[in-house]
Subunit: 358 residues, 4 copies
């Protein structure tokens, strides 16, 4: 099988590096281009900054020459790990030129014509891509994944919404420092400390699930009517966000066991299609009395699942629970990658036939 | 003025040491006795374990000989930093023998005849001491302060309850490791990690405020009818708990500014009496967009106030905010000490006249 | 090929768990027995304590019933992760009964008849096993690996000693908390702190290299005449020890480049035999100006190599450098495992023929 | 007594803030001017950045208007917390205009006419100021304190050099993150990590003691002939550097007790003059088997003393020990302040008579 050539925009940052790591031995995609700001363009990737992941930068990447993100190329699929302020214009330029841009940036998430996609949650929203092309006249297209905190929560929210109807979700996050990139959070801000604020984060978490769980039918989009309240905190954890949720349902489940079973049994399109990066079980429920925990559980299922624990009644809303996800894998690069795999499986990458069928 | 002689039960633990530190130059109280388990009895305090606070153990304490907690003495006021399983029996023995026991332990908090006291919140509950003496036939008495997480939250809860009537409080804590004593939390459990569970803590936080804000009139006690839901987490912070609250009111305030003003203007009996350890302002409201923060704010007001920040509307309940308190000062030893100061001011210490009057 | 059945003594501790992890898919060894103290005996391994490594305990282990370490069985190869005070007697009992005990404990390291083995360093010391059997009358035998701090340093020490003759080594370690087991280091001792002392560690580090680099010829053992001085510190790192060395040579190399080349070119018997756990290059030299670093480099070469960096002249001794190793892999369970692989390769496991030959 | 008006250059950084904190209630000095880069000039200090120390910025400082560091004023004494690249020119401009500049920056430390001063160590080097004025034609002058790591070590080095003659000092530091300023060390670089490199630090530590312990007589300066080798590491500690030293003497002491006594008995000019910030005992020796430790000992003696522990024989050099100092107090702002106090005591501040005499 011929692999689909892909590029990574923002390849020198922490999310960009995670893209490269996850793509290193990918069965469908082949990294043929790495791009960054003009400052880095023309240099070898291995000579720019440091590799933030475990071990050394893979040699094939270290030898690649970085091109400018403004040097638009002819690449069918591009991953974007660009910072928010740069992503807006640049991603449009690539989409115009014919690339499908799978973006981890927030710039276009609120665009009503841009799918905010989690393959287990709203695969039908891919249909927006067609409207997007028509309306905007782009030959490619832009597709985004949600904020990391939203991503981990949305898997159980989907499972529970389908069965019981979500009406209110109160969410308090304890987020890892890697979410802020590099250099990111100064150590003087976080060692022996908690920062009870992350700029813009609460807005995203309170809104994105309404789009993700919204209905897209006959070209019309209706946001889900769920009230969400978020408190977002930064804590001294390297990777993985921990989130405490209290949830109110339209039709509350009868018991903790019922919820647990519903979460465990949840499967969706990526599992049916056996997408390469899809976790066999999107939601894992731990029995540990004091779990899930970031350092101990973040690498389970290669960082692609949400781990839920401590499901119990809530004295105010109906139930409460703790969940955890790997913020730079499923919550960022891995989420974008799974989106791209779904697009490739279904034949949405220009010039490449559908790779998987049901 | 003759100082009131006091003893410290459990003087070798982390809370016991904090009692000693706070009592070192106390204007009213003089530490004449330090007690611990039989294992330590007979040895010099300075030879047992290490001093967990900054600097070295004060020399006057280091030279004191530890006595057994079971060697009941004739001391009018005793502070208890005993572990829960030992506190029950021992505190009763001292109360029977005539001591007023100001306890930080949880053993007697649920006893309907034992005041659970925060001087700014429910000073009238001291009246239970008289019923306790009558009913139990003790010549002394037992009085407790709440769990640390409750203590920090109860100050703003009191201020807001008085004005707007609390109906629901959803609280998520990020608690410091010092709350678990020494050796306490293993480092392998908490570095690069969060533990989303603290044994027994959520029960305490969901119940204690109902007692604290309850009514005691004409010998009858009525719990406050407030629904509380708690998620308690341990994070890698040395001292100070951070708590995210969402609150629903019977008569909601009109604006964030109104709540802020209500919190800032709150004063109570300890401030009126100018008790030695009372913070001039029990509730401080920070303007910092990303505050309060444990390392930066815990020592404000000598660790005796609650610091509130980020008051804002909640999309589910009415308002949300972040608060912070020093868990081993106001949340433990300092809380007990303030209780004892109120007792001394009002003449409740056997053999000593009231020290302060309004 | 029939796998060699092996047991793990002390299977419930952190080193025991690391043994289980490394043995999970081992090509030569098959875990058939897990043993712990009487307190755990009879229970399923999955029900005892928690799994301290990433993810969940592998299911095949969770289902195994723990037996008492005193229930001596007929197992040709046993790994010991026992605590020092228990290891002494227990390991002897197993050796008497015919097992080869590859021990990570310190109990027998100073026994002149017990090999202290690092396969790249002193494979000929295995010859002591025969003397041990004769002298002690055991049908099995005991063989140890050194302390973790020694283990990481001894690889470059061997390479340099062979070429330039070591005369003095001054070593300052910054050691990970996992080296102290679980619960191990209290978090109050190590967050925002350094503990400049680890009981017994400096003695081990100052002596063990003298045995490891000693000569064993014609049944006579002569310790190496190298002066070693160690300062051992505990720091807030989960895994991997960092060590600063200053070194004086009998015949100093001419340049940093020469040392670097000597270290990089070092290969030994495990590499020649291609033992399953042997790192292809036992010593890696990083070019990073600020490396090696524990979190970034500990998983290189599966945690089995020593990473060296910052080789430079020392104004007092001849040269200085920084080195790093994974303390619970190569420095503990992985070290023992490599020892066992060498024994198996050479036919030292009772009842099993040599597996590898040169 | 009329206080000496002082200014702080670089008042918005972490060291600048520490100057402000230490000067807040100073008996001799009164902060009348705060200066920073043009970017901050004209704004209120309280509106720029955050206060990195405990609690809130003192109100009197918050209300001060920041002036540009290039707006040279008529202030007799100026403290400089400027970054190295700015300090060079700016400090000269102030010195030319008549100010005595007590600088914490490294820019002028190697200038043979600029005293590198620690009042307990080389108070006679102040004599260089006169040569400096003559040679350079400045009406004021520049005087520096050493690097933080040097500062903590130089107190015991002075005490021991006087008695036994230092010949070699091998020093390995574990340095706090606050030494790198703010934002300084990224949290991704230091949580669960050690960085075995600090740019330029080892050079400073290997050279500065030679100047500090050098002889200045009859206008001639002779560097001390001591070989120093440094390994400098960054660890996850907020404040206080820990340093492991191995030392060789010309005339070695007979015992650990002798060294300990020498260190404890050390007193110098600041103690004789009872300078306001001078620690009564410049060197404290802890008996703790595992001390000194940064979090537990850094605030002893208000952060102005060096704490020594674990004095013991070294198998390579003569003795080894651990020492600790507060890097942003004695190691930075407090060191500069003590220098200024000595100058003021001796009448070196233009327009002000000597404040203290022996």
């Amino acid at each position: 099988m011929e692999k689909i050539p892909v590029g990574v925009l923002g390849a020198t940052g922490t999310v960009g590096q995670r893209f490269l790591q996850l793509l290193e031995e990918h069965p469908w995609f082949d990294v043929v281009m790495v791009a960054a700001s003009d400052r880095s363009a023309g240099r070898k990737l291995g000579e720019i900054g440091r590799w933030h992941l475990s071990g050394a930068m893979p040699e094939r990447y270290a030898a690649m020459t970085v091109q400018s993100i403004d040097q638009i190329g002819d690449i069918p699929l591009v991953f974007s790990a660009l910072p928010g302020d740069v992503a807006g214009e640049t991603e449009i330029a690539w989409a115009k030129a014919g690339s499908i841009v799978c973006s981890n940036a927030s710039a276009h998430r609120r665009d009503p014509l841009v799918p905010l996609l989690v393959p287990e949650v709203n695969p039908d929203h891919i249909g927006l891509l067609e409207l997007q092309r028509k309306e905007r006249g782009w030959s490619g297209g832009i597709l985004t994944n949600p904020n990391c905190t939203t991503t981990h929560a949305i898997l159980p929210m989907r499972a529970l919404h389908d069965t019981y109807g979500l009406s209110q979700v109160l969410l308090v996050s304890m987020q890892a420092i890697s979410g802020a990139g590099y250099p990111g959070v100064p150590s003087l801000d976080i060692i022996d400390n908690v920062v009870p604020y992350i700029g813009g984060e609460e807005d995203k978490v309170e809104w994105e699930p309404r789009k993700l769980l919204g209905l897209f039918r006959d070209g019309v989009f209706i946001e889900a009517d769920i009230a969400i309240s978020a408190h977002c905190n930064r804590v001294a954890v390297i990777d993985a966000h921990t989130e405490c949720l209290s949830i109110k349902f339209a039709h509350p489940p009868q018991s903790v066991d019922e919820i647990t079973a519903t979460l465990r049994e949840f499967r969706a399109l990526p599992q049916a299609l056996e997408l390469p990066s899809a976790p066999p079980e999107p939601i894992l429920v731990t029995e540990a009395v004091d779990g899930p925990q970031p350092r101990r559980d973040r690498d389970v299922a290669n960082g692609m699942a949400t781990i839920v624990g401590r499901v119990r009644p809530c004295p105010i809303l109906d139930y409460k629970l703790v969940l955890l996800g790997h913020n730079t894998i499923r919550g960022a690069a891995g989420g974008s990658l799974l989106n791209a795999e779904l697009l490739a499986a279904q034949g949405h990458i220009p010039g490449f036939a559908a790779l998987r069928d049901l």
